[in-house]
């Protein structure tokens, strides 16, 4: 194993993100809770988006990750609420369950070389199946209204893995998860599997003919990716203290995951994080602006609430058409072109 060498810039970056809550506490003490909430959301979603991108960057476009986050969240909470099993056991069980589901769906697809639209629709069906199961088991899950993990004591407990009232603690848990996500990404990026998967995403037959076991490589990355999303979903449930079929599972969520990851850029380490920052800040801004604007309320009444979804959808369309490499990807390409142009003029000048 090569081991990851930490560059000074990386350490500074990590420290800066770690210090963010202190900045918030110092400069925005009045609305500390709100801003921390926003940051926590960004970090948690970054982790989930990073998990999706692990597959997505190799051409495995899954619309099934809403199923994995859903399984992670619901299995953990159900075990806690109805069997009293601590999330310390519940989460590994939920993650294992999601991984098994991911592998079961992935295996036939990869073995028969199913990709592209077909794979996306197949995984979409998985998402819908999980959502239907959640709604159908309404005696336990609360159906489409959702449910809450049973509160343990004052809501802060190591045993019950509950930490929602203490935003600082929640922040550092989310931060730890985010760093874990980046670490996994780097490990995958530096591994031999990555070359195998890259080769397979470009030309499956050629990859197979040089001895790459395409099915196994893809199953490995699928397992990893679904496990990460299940873990993210479970932690999300523990933080939000609420789970609903449309907030943590379902087609809408699957599309959101994919969009955010693409918007940030799935080819670069921090792309999904940028995607999370972008989508969360966008959603929050739209919500605040629209709810705070008397004009808009006057124009549209209660349906102004749908305006943010309208803008979101419109942006999604525009993004894909005009910026298919994502924010970070496009910026980096532009930067590289500029640097190259500068180098060229520099040489010409000499």
């Amino acid at each position: 194993m090569t081991g990851l060498r930490l560059k000074p810039a990386t350490i500074i970056g990590l420290l800066a993100v770690a210090a963010l809550p202190l900045v918030v506490r110092y400069f925005l003490p009045a609305s500390e809770k709100y801003y921390l909430h926003l940051l926590i959301q960004i970090l948690l979603w970054s982790f989930i988006y990073t998990g999706w991108s692990l597959m997505g960057r190799f051409g495995l476009t899954s619309l099934g990750h809403g199923a994995f986050t859903g399984i992670g969240a619901y299995a953990t909470v159900m075990l806690w609420n109805f069997a009293g099993i601590t999330p310390w056991i519940g989460i590994p069980v939920a993650v294992a369950l999601a991984t098994v589901v991911g592998v079961l769906v992935g295996y036939p697809c990869f073995r028969f070389r199913i990709a592209g639209h077909y794979f996306a629709l197949l995984t979409l069906a998985l998402t819908e199946f999980v959502r239907l199961c959640i709604v159908g088991l309404r005696d336990f899950t609360g159906g489409s209204l959702g449910t809450q993990p049973r509160r343990y004591g004052d809501g802060i407990s190591l045993y019950a893995l509950q930490f929602e009232p203490d935003r600082m603690l929640a922040y550092y848990i989310a931060f730890g998860l985010w760093v874990l996500g980046l670490y996994v990404w780097l490990r995958v990026d530096g591994s031999m599997d990555r070359y195998a998967l890259d080769a397979a995403s470009q030309d499956e037959d050629a990859a197979a003919s040089v001895g790459i076991n395409v099915t196994r490589e893809r199953l490995k990355i699928t397992a990893l990716s679904s496990a990460m999303c299940a873990l993210g979903g479970a932690i999300f449930a523990q933080y939000q203290m609420y789970i609903g079929p449309d907030t943590i599972a379902g087609l809408g969520l699957s599309l959101n995951i994919v969009f955010a990851a693409i918007a940030g850029g799935i080819w670069v380490l921090l792309g999904p994080t940028v995607g999370a920052v972008f989508t969360q800040v966008l959603a929050e801004t739209l919500r605040v602006v629209i709810q705070g604007s008397a004009t808009l309320k006057g124009m549209f009444g209660s349906s102004a609430l749908a305006l943010d979804q309208l803008i979101y959808g419109l942006l999604l369309v525009l993004f894909i058409i005009y910026m298919p490499n994502g924010i970070l990807g496009t910026t980096m390409a532009w930067w590289r072109r500029r640097a190259a142009a500068r180098a060229a003029t520099g040489r010409a000048g000499n």
Binding site: R113, E128, F129, Q309, V317
Partner: protein, 289 residues
């Protein structure tokens, strides 16, 4: 649960058959578009929703139902052509993931636009056609008519595809895209025509559905995933496969719902789908290796 081979079971089977017509019609539209253009409209069910609202307002605005239905079909056909022209065409050469997502964005957009324009209340045309009673079974005429018209629509499409020059070109293009210009076919125009036809089929489905269901902005999520599942089960792009798959899936839904709860009907159908895909991931009638 009470699942017996009695008259209600038979009623469920027949109702499943009636539902299948509608689902087959929608699957056909999606398969047609996929077969020709090689894209999937994730927002297909939302186009149906647009059509339903269009028909609702046209009817309440005083048009006779048949005229309103025709209006709905034309409206969604235009919407389909616009969708292709504005959204699909710019991403035609990009990876499939972008094409999926871009129509996913349209899905959000249409839902939100419908919510803003029409509110979240359920809307209903208020047409009651009554039902056909045989022994102890009862079948609503709206379902029977929907079934018959869906079959008629599919038959019309089949005739169009097999008897006309444009229809032949639609069947040919997926077999060899590069040589289409040698035949004098402008692929861009053909895509546009296909999109309009796909939209028109969604419009027809909308006209048949307004008689049975309440209209609300999220209605697409009720049956959209179901259509995708049917298309995948039948083999994406395979029109006959989609037709057969619609009949299989709707039986699972109808019988499952009558034995358990409605969602369980759907869940059983999806479970069957998962198992079937595990065995034949290319779809029951797919021919991909």
């Amino acid at each position: 649960m009470d699942c017996q081979l009695d008259i209600f079971f038979l009623e469920a089977v027949v109702n499943g058959l009636l539902l299948a017509g509608l689902l087959a019609l929608l699957a056909l539209g999606l398969n047609l578009i996929f077969g020709v253009i090689d894209v999937v409209w994730i927002c297909y069910a939302e186009l149906v929703m647009v059509g339903m609202y269009g028909i609702n307002y046209a009817y309440k605005g005083g048009m006779p139902f048949l005229v309103a239905a025709l209006f709905g079909i034309v409206l969604v056909a235009i919407a389909g052509a616009l969708l292709h022209f504005l959204v699909i065409r710019p991403v035609l050469e990009t990876p499939p993931i972008n094409q999926l997502l871009v129509t996913g964005g349209v899905l959000f957009l249409l839902q939100a636009a419908a919510t803003m324009a029409f509110g979240i209340e359920f809307k209903n045309l208020g047409i009651r056609l009554g039902s056909l009673n045989i022994i102890d079974m009862s079948f609503s005429w709206s379902r029977i008519l929907a079934f018959l018209f869906a079959l008629a629509g599919m038959l019309a499409l089949w005739l169009f595809l097999s008897r006309t020059f444009i229809g032949t070109a639609i069947r040919a293009i997926s077999q060899d895209r590069q040589i289409m210009p040698l035949m004098g076919v402008d692929s861009r125009k053909l895509y546009l025509v296909t999109s309009a036809i796909g939209g028109g089929l969604a419009g027809l489905a909308a006209a048949l559905m307004v008689l049975q269901y309440d209209i609300y902005p999220q209605i697409g999520l009720q049956f959209g995933p179901l259509i995708f599942m049917i298309c995948v089960l039948g083999g994406l792009g395979n029109m006959i496969g989609g037709f057969v798959a619609a009949f299989i899936i709707s039986q699972f839904i109808a019988v499952g719902s009558s034995c358990f709860h409605t969602e369980w009907g759907y869940a059983v159908a999806f479970l069957f789908f998962m198992v079937a895909i595990f065995i034949r991931p290319q779809g029951l009638f797919g021919s991909r290796t």
